[in-house]
Symmetry: C2
Subunit: 99 residues, 2 copies
């Protein structure tokens, strides 16, 4: 066990940190909102959402709102747990970097 | 400007966070020590060191110690500045995630 193995590779990317950060404080967030907030292309955002979905860190809900398709995302229990562990590890690294 | 553009893509990887963290608190660290501390392969470590070197965030010194080649690394002034900015941005994201 060293300072980096406690970091979760699934959260290495700053895009994923941004997504998780948004989902941690919102019940659910739709695709368009994440895209706008993080200023990403559809493709880039989709790739990272899919990766987080595959890890079962986020859940996806597809529905129609006013007859328009709407895809929204929520953080799962295990996603919340994993992200909190990652943040704790990050804080540890930050602390060590300025000892 | 959003929560992720203030994060530095060069530090996305946890390996690079680990390297920078070590260099922030040590005058210089040699290849073997980083490799051992972070439990990495030569190839993986070399790739990340080279990336940080290209950004001019770290400097490299090659010398002979007891006739054996020794390569050591130091953080540059701009590396220190960039890493501190990255940490500040990370702390911001962490704060936002638990509001």
């Amino acid at each position: 066990m060293n300072i980096i193995t406690s970091l979760n590779k699934a959260f290495d990317s700053r895009v994923r940190l941004g997504i998780m950060s948004m989902l941690m404080v919102n019940e659910s967030v739709d695709f368009a909102t994440i895209k706008k907030e993080l200023d990403l292309t559809d493709g880039n955002l989709s790739t990272h959402l899919l990766a987080l979905e595959k890890e079962k860190y986020i859940g996806v809900k597809k529905q129609f709102i006013n007859k328009k398709p709407n895809t929204s995302y929520t953080v799962t229990k295990s996603g919340e747990k994993a992200f909190k562990a990652h943040i704790t590890a990050l804080e540890e690294i930050i602390k060590k970097s300025f000892e």
